[in-house]
């Protein structure tokens, strides 16, 4: 999108290490702009069943009919006619890295993905490059147990009934403007099905990469955890630094059947020219546990509020969220929990940082329906500002329509404390080192809930961002 220069130029984070891009002509690149024709073409390319095409077109109408949301971040600079809605680099989704085109494999090598897979740190890996999934593989023993982990397009071809049964059941096409957009032009994303009683012991990981300029990435992820199953899915995201903006607008739907346990971890490290507008929602049935771990470090503007709808007694929902906003960034992130059944429980823990003129917003909704008695919820959101010219806001909304509930809520906004800095400096730590230590401590409650590799990565990314901010 060649948006007119915004007021504050988007300065790429000086430390951003994934800002490179591949100079290769895409195989297919639809002209810029959004129309019925574009939607139809995407559907044609994918040779989709008719119901999907209809759904897309209906969603496009929703998108066109809905106004831009005005309550979140600054969206006025997005020009929907200046985006490529579909860019395909290769025509294949491979399951062997050697078959992936070299220049794409190089990109993932730089990101360390094949290496982590080789070392057995992951149970399965998916990789999306622009609009299409270029690689998917899952450990054989899991495949034998009936675990499905593949690109959503491929799933639609190979398991059309399963996809149709769940697609848009958690997030309807008209849920919000960007969910409608995604439904209209979606491409790629992961499809996971875990059969009853099966435990996927180590994480499945997907890696999302935008390579082309002025493009929109609209992956669609659908996870179905059948009764008593267990799975941890991790996604990472990066993009090159371009002078114009890109759009990433994903939809993630998760169904947690009774007794299942799903954890979804995101480490979002988009470059500072990406609008990241994502809808994520899970439904949790009897005694199921759904956890979102949401790390937002990159992007120009992120608006994302992972949600859990607790549908049956005993269900537990949890959102652990870290956002860090540096120069030219706005992280508008949070969580949404809906207690729709009695004796359901939830925890929201949010830690947001702002530095170097960045802005972070916590936006949360806790809803308890009338009749959902015996619910317990604990909400804690803390914001830390590293300097005077950064900004932090919290908007925790509670709609509690039932009396017999136990709700705890705590919110703090603070600046890196002079007394804490002085204490550490009085022990010989430089101001920069002391600040990092305080920030690390601040995010520690969330970091420690991550598997070690991701904890290390999250800490590293936060430190990198601070290097840019505090020198």
């Amino acid at each position: 999108m060649t948006t007119p220069a915004p007021e504050a130029p988007v300065t790429p984070r000086s430390e951003y290490e994934y800002g490179f891009h591949d100079d290769v002509e895409a195989l297919v690149k639809l002209p810029k702009g959004l129309s019925r024709e574009v939607v139809n073409t995407i559907s044609d390319i994918k040779e989709e069943p008719d119901w999907m095409r209809k759904l897309r077109l209906k969603a496009l109408d929703h998108f066109n009919a809905r106004p831009m949301p005005e309550w979140g971040g600054e969206l006025g600079d997005i020009d929907f006619n200046d985006i490529h809605y579909y860019v395909r680099a290769t025509d294949r989704d491979e399951s062997d890295w050697d078959d992936v085109p070299d220049y794409i494999k190089d990109t993932y090598d730089k990101l360390g993905i094949p290496e982590a897979e080789k070392q057995g740190l992951l149970a399965g890996v998916g990789a999306q490059y622009d609009s299409e999934v270029v690689y998917h593989n899952i450990r054989e023993d899991l495949e034998e147990k009936g675990v499905l982990f593949l690109g959503t397009d491929q799933a639609l071809r190979e398991y059309p009934d399963l996809v149709q049964e769940y697609f848009t059941t958690v997030i309807p096409p008209n849920d919000n403007k960007f969910a409608a957009l995604n439904t209209a032009v979606w491409s790629g994303g992961s499809f996971i099905y875990v059969p009853p009683g099966v435990t996927v012991d180590i994480p499945l990981q997907a890696y999302f990469r935008i390579n082309s300029e002025d493009m929109g990435q609209f992956e669609r992820t659908l996870i179905i955890a059948d009764e008593g199953s267990q799975v941890h899915y991790v996604e990472g995201c990066t993009a090159p630094i371009y002078s114009s903006d890109s759009l990433h607008s994903a939809v993630v739907e998760i169904v947690c059947k009774p007794g299942s346990n799903v954890r979804y971890t995101t480490i979002q490290n988009w470059s500072n020219n990406v609008y990241n507008l994502v809808t994520k929602r899970a439904t949790a049935y009897q005694d199921a546990v759904m956890t979102w771990v949401d790390g937002n470090l990159g992007s120009k503007l992120t608006m994302k509020y992972p949600a859990v709808y607790l549908m049956e007694p005993g269900a537990h929902g949890e959102v652990l969220s870290i956002a860090s906003a540096g120069q030219g960034q706005h992280q508008d992130a949070g969580a949404k929990i809906v207690h729709a059944a009695p004796n359901t429980t939830s925890v929201i823990t949010s830690k947001s940082l702002s530095m170097d003129g960045g802005r972070s917003t916590y936006r949360g909704l806790l809803k308890v329906y009338d009749g959902a008695d015996g619910c317990r919820s604990n909400v804690r959101c803390d914001a830390l500002m590293l300097d005077e010219h950064s900004r932090s806001d919290t908007y925790p909304v509670m709609e509690i329509d039932e009396k017999r509930v136990d709700i705890g809520h705590e919110a703090t906004v603070s600046k890196v404390g002079d007394e804490q800095l002085f204490y550490l400096m009085a022990r010989g730590l430089s101001e920069a080192e002391a600040t990092k230590m305080i920030v690390n401590g601040f995010v520690e409650p969330i970091i420690k809930s991550l598997p070690l590799e991701y904890a290390v990565e999250m800490n590293r990314l936060i430190e990198l961002q601070m290097d840019g901010a505090i020198g």
Partner: protein, 255 residues
């Protein structure tokens, strides 16, 4: 002639435009223990914090020299690395930062090089043992949820690990039970050698029975009004600050 280990030279300290320390001078030679006693609000913590370089306290006049070098323009971390140490009256908690991680960073900063893990473990266990502190203690977050006594012990732990040249102890004995007072005092004594000096701020004579001072100073209204040997502390315990206050008043009136 070599310079003294630590000199406070006609020091004036202000907080928010209010002068608290009024031309205070004190010289510490290697191997010495100096005690400062004074009523609440007389400026003891102000003095201690300003020696360490707290940004809220402005040096309005005078000088502070460590081994002959002025430190007043140094930020706190530089002073610490040069060998100054402050045991805080009210240590700040830093949630999420483990003691074990923090202490390793602090020792490495003081030494100017990373302390090897093995050496660190040994050193840590040795000092923890000496202070009769549980090894699990260092797994906790810095001062977070520590009892008053635990905080004071943690300060002495840091003293033992960092081996400064000059240690300013701001009421490290306050809030300690009888056993803890003995253990903390022993910790100070083990640290103390012919090469370093201690400035002990206290309200009570009882710690001075364990840590014997070479000099005792009485601080009133940001000035030293009387100096003497250990017997001065006993006199204070018996008669209180009243006689000294009367005297400063008289001095002020006659000047």
């Amino acid at each position: 002639m070599t310079s003294p280990l630590f000199e406070i030279d006609a020091l004036e300290v202000a907080v928010e435009d209010k002068q608290i320390v009024n031309g205070l001078s004190l010289t510490l030679e290697p191997g010495e223990v100096h005690a400062i006693m004074g009523p609440n609000g007389s400026g003891k913590s102000t003095l201690a914090n300003s020696l360490m370089g707290h940004p809220r306290y402005t040096i309005a006049g005078g000088d502070i020299r460590l081994q002959g070098t002025s430190v007043v323009d140094m930020p706190p971390d530089e002073r610490a690395r040069a060998g100054l140490f402050l045991a805080f009256q009210y240590p700040t908690d830093i949630p999420g930062v483990s003691m074990i991680n923090f202490l390793r960073r602090a020792i490495s900063a003081r030494r100017g090089e990373e302390i090897p893990v093995r050496e660190y473990r040994q050193l840590l266990n040795e000092v923890l043992g000496r202070l009769q502190m549980d090894e699990q203690f260092v797994r906790r977050y810095v001062n977070d949820g520590f009892s008053g006594g635990e905080k004071k012990r943690a300060e002495i732990l840091q003293l033992g690990l960092l081996q400064p040249l000059v240690a300013v102890m701001d009421e490290t004995d306050s809030g300690l039970d009888i056993d803890a007072l003995r253990i903390v005092s022993e910790g100070i004594n083990t640290f103390h050698s012919d090469d370093n000096a201690i400035l002990l701020i206290t309200h009570y004579q009882r710690i001075l029975r364990y840590v014997q001072p070479d000099h005792v100073h009485v601080l009133i209204d940001g000035q030293i009004v009387e100096s003497g040997d250990a017997s001065l502390a006993e006199r204070l315990e018996r008669d209180g600050y009243e006689p000294f206050m009367e005297r400063t008043k008289a001095e002020v009136l006659s000047s």
